[in-house]
């Protein structure tokens, strides 16, 4: 009966892509394992088909109370994010297909669906709903690790993510009061509401000093959970900036800082999934710079970089997840030599590494360079140099450190099984996309929001990039041979999350210590005063004291007579 009603189908199709994943997630995971895995892989494909069926310019409004909510808005910008999110969801589901944790599977699908639906939200209230659902669903991917540290990291993650949502809601209310509109178009920083929304987005985009949640929580998530996490939350924030704050100049220095500072942490961090989290933060910097520059080339570059990045970053997290899955550790100090037992994983990881480093014929080469070119075209010389420095840094932490310390370096003696087939298949698909985009960039360029007049494979570009990367690699060889490359040490590296994991608790225990001490002094003093008062009254007013003892009648009568006499005297 449902199938026979075309108008119902039409109205269902006007709902945002992504909603299907959210509502079908729980039924899908309730099926027997194989059927469930099949259903979960079909869902992203169905979602992609749904998106393909909706033309650019499609809008669908519903009225709720006094508000008109735009549940669905398809345009060139949202479409690219929708496509890559569906691809990431599919890769994640395939990578996790061996797993029988239903809760985690449902959380992952709902999370992916919410992120997809969020990019099609035409107003800020709808965006807020999906924004918060991504936060609430994704925390289960951290908690599913079921360790104490994951539980604590998940709680910290959730607090910060929900805070971002509350800022978004507060900003939306202010914007509505200022302009009477909740439409999610260009927002800008002209109003207080705009600033609140800016910070809401900035938390999710892991701005400097707001980034602590990501390096804290992502490495604590499950093997498969981190693959999902790496795809959606931060790129949703990039989308939101591209929509609401394109050309906002303050984003340029912020983004440049994001490309540069995480790489110092990435060099010395021992947990390789945490290294990848810093690397993710660094990649977001390139995108934020592009949004800040705001020209068509820059925005195209940002969007292209998002597409390339989602895939190669997922690939790198998949490879490190496979290592963690097989060996039980992801600490560089305990790994090495795994190419001997996990050659496929090593090969796929290297594809991810050269892609993120931006070698020619990989996706990073054709996407990141658009942002650098846009910076150069607008004559941001220092920004350009920072981005170039950060590109050399990417080669270190993601290009060399990740594959080198896990699969090569000193043989740890670990001999394990190769990653499960489904994991290898997911990595193979991701690797194929990385190379495919690098070899056929037009495929990616054709779906970018603006017409592309950019040619990545010029002689100058190919040779300058090769010079930069090969000589950075030679610098690694030089430092390694000299024994100057910092050894991988079992350690933690302090970052801004130190503030809320150490300083604030200490400050709080300091404050409560002072409070308790002050309370003691106050109560002690009050008690002494009370006792002193009691002693005084006892001494002078008790039945045995001078004032308190019974007086003889004659004395009382005399005092009464004296009082009356005094009264008469005053009355005259």
């Amino acid at each position: 009966m449902i199938e026979s009603s075309p108008s119902l189908l039409t109205s269902l199709l006007s709902l945002p892509p992504g909603l299907l994943l959210v509502v079908a997630a729980i039924p899908a995971v309730m099926l027997p394992h194989r059927a469930s895995q099949a259903a979960m892989m079909v869902l992203p494909a169905l979602g992609l088909w749904h998106l393909a069926s909706l033309p650019n310019g499609f809008e669908h409004d519903v009225s709720v109370f006094d508000l008109t909510l735009q549940l669905t808005r398809i345009d060139a910008l949202s479409r690219v994010f929708g496509i890559v999110f569906h691809v990431a969801a599919f890769l994640g589901v395939l990578y996790a297909a061996h797993q029988k944790d239903r809760l985690q599977a449902a959380a992952a699908l709902i999370y992916a669906g919410a992120a997809i639906a969020a990019v099609f939200a035409g107003d800020l209230v709808t965006l807020f709903v999906w924004w918060e659902l991504t936060a609430i669903s994704s925390v289960f991917l951290v908690w599913a690790r079921k360790t104490e540290s994951a539980l604590a990291a998940g709680q910290r993650y959730l607090v910060i993510q929900v805070l971002s949502g509350l800022l978004l809601l507060a900003g939306t209310i202010l914007l509505h009061r200022e302009s009477g509109s909740i439409a999610f178009d260009h927002i800008g920083l002209e109003t207080p509401g705009g600033w609140l929304v800016f910070f809401a987005f900035g938390i999710k985009a892991a701005f400097p000093f707001l980034h602590g949640w990501m390096k804290d929580a992502y490495p604590e998530a499950t093997v498969t959970g981190t693959v999902f996490l790496s795809g959606f939350t931060t790129k949703l924030a990039i989308y939101a900036f591209a929509r609401g704050f394109a050309g906002t100049e303050i984003l340029i220095p912020i983004g440049a800082a994001m490309t540069a500072f995480p790489i110092f942490f990435a060099v010395i961090e021992n947990d390789l999934r945490r290294v990848l989290s810093y690397s993710l933060n660094n990649q977001l910097g390139f995108m934020i710079v592009g949004v800040g520059i705001g020209t068509e080339l820059a925005l195209n570059g940002t969007v292209a970089h998002v597409f390339a990045h989602v895939i190669y970053k997922a690939l790198l997290f998949m490879a490190m997840g496979a290592v963690l899955f097989r060996t039980g550790t992801i600490k560089a100090s305990e790994l090495g030599g795994l190419y001997k037992s996990m050659p496929w994983t090593a090969a796929f990881c290297i594809v991810g590494s050269i892609s993120i480093s931006g070698f020619p014929l990989t996706s990073g080469f054709v996407s990141k360079s658009m942002v650098l070119s846009a910076a150069a075209h607008q004559h941001y010389m220092w920004i350009f140099l920072v981005l170039l420095f950060a590109s050399a840094g990417v080669l270190d932490h993601s290009g060399i450190k990740i594959p080198f310390f896990s699969f090569f370096a000193h043989d740890s003696g670990k001999r394990v099984e190769e990653a499960p087939f489904n994991m290898r298949l997911a990595m193979a698909f991701a690797a194929a996309i990385c190379i495919g985009i690098g070899v056929f960039p037009q495929a990616l360029y054709s779906i970018l929001p603006y017409p592309v007049e950019y040619a990545p494979y010029t002689t100058t570009h190919v040779f300058t990039v090769l010079q930069l990367l090969i000589f950075a690699a030679l610098a690694f060889v030089f430092l390694w041979k000299m024994g100057w490359y910092p050894p991988e040490l079992r350690s933690v590296v302090l970052d801004v999350d130190w503030v809320w994991r150490r300083v604030l608790p200490l400050a709080w225990s300091g404050v409560s210590g002072v409070w308790i001490a002050g309370q003691g002094v106050f109560l002690g003093t009050a008690d002494r005063l009370r006792l002193a008062f009691l002693g005084f009254t006892r001494a002078h007013l008790s039945p045995w004291s001078r004032l308190g003892e019974p007086w003889p009648t004659g004395v009382t009568a005399m005092w009464a007579a004296a009082l009356l006499a005094a009264y008469l005297f005053i009355a005259y």
Binding site: R326, K331, L395, F463, T464, Q467, F471, L474, P486
Partner: protein, 111 residues
């Protein structure tokens, strides 16, 4: 292969053993008897390094054969990106080593 995974958990739930895993669990370091990997042979790594140096020389030599186009004048200097890449990398690693002295703590710092 499977008889060699004695210490390393082959099918274990990954979350079950956060921390406390001993690097020697595989039963010793280095190549094992009976293994023969090309990378373990003497000279293999040196060959890779020589190839890398050769590639470096080639991409710098290429600067003689075409005119570079850059938005900034320094982009057109001979071997600019090679020098910048090498210097940036060494600078980054050196700075990070110093940075480590400030921010590195023991593994159980937050426990």
């Amino acid at each position: 292969m499977s008889d060699e995974t004695s210490g390393a958990p082959a099918q274990e739930a990954p979350g079950a053993r956060h921390g406390g895993h001993d690097g020697d669990a595989g039963g010793g370091h280095g190549p094992r008897p009976g293994e023969d990997f090309w990378l373990d042979r003497p000279g293999s790594v040196d060959l890779i390094i020589k190839l890398l140096i050769g590639a470096g020389v080639a991409v710098v030599a290429a600067d003689f054969f075409y005119h570079k186009h850059g938005e900034f004048h320094f982009q057109e200097y001979f071997a600019f990106d090679a020098v910048f890449g090498f210097a940036a990398y060494v600078g980054l690693i050196t700075a990070a080593k110093g940075f480590r002295k400030i921010v590195m703590r023991g593994e159980d710092y937050y426990d």
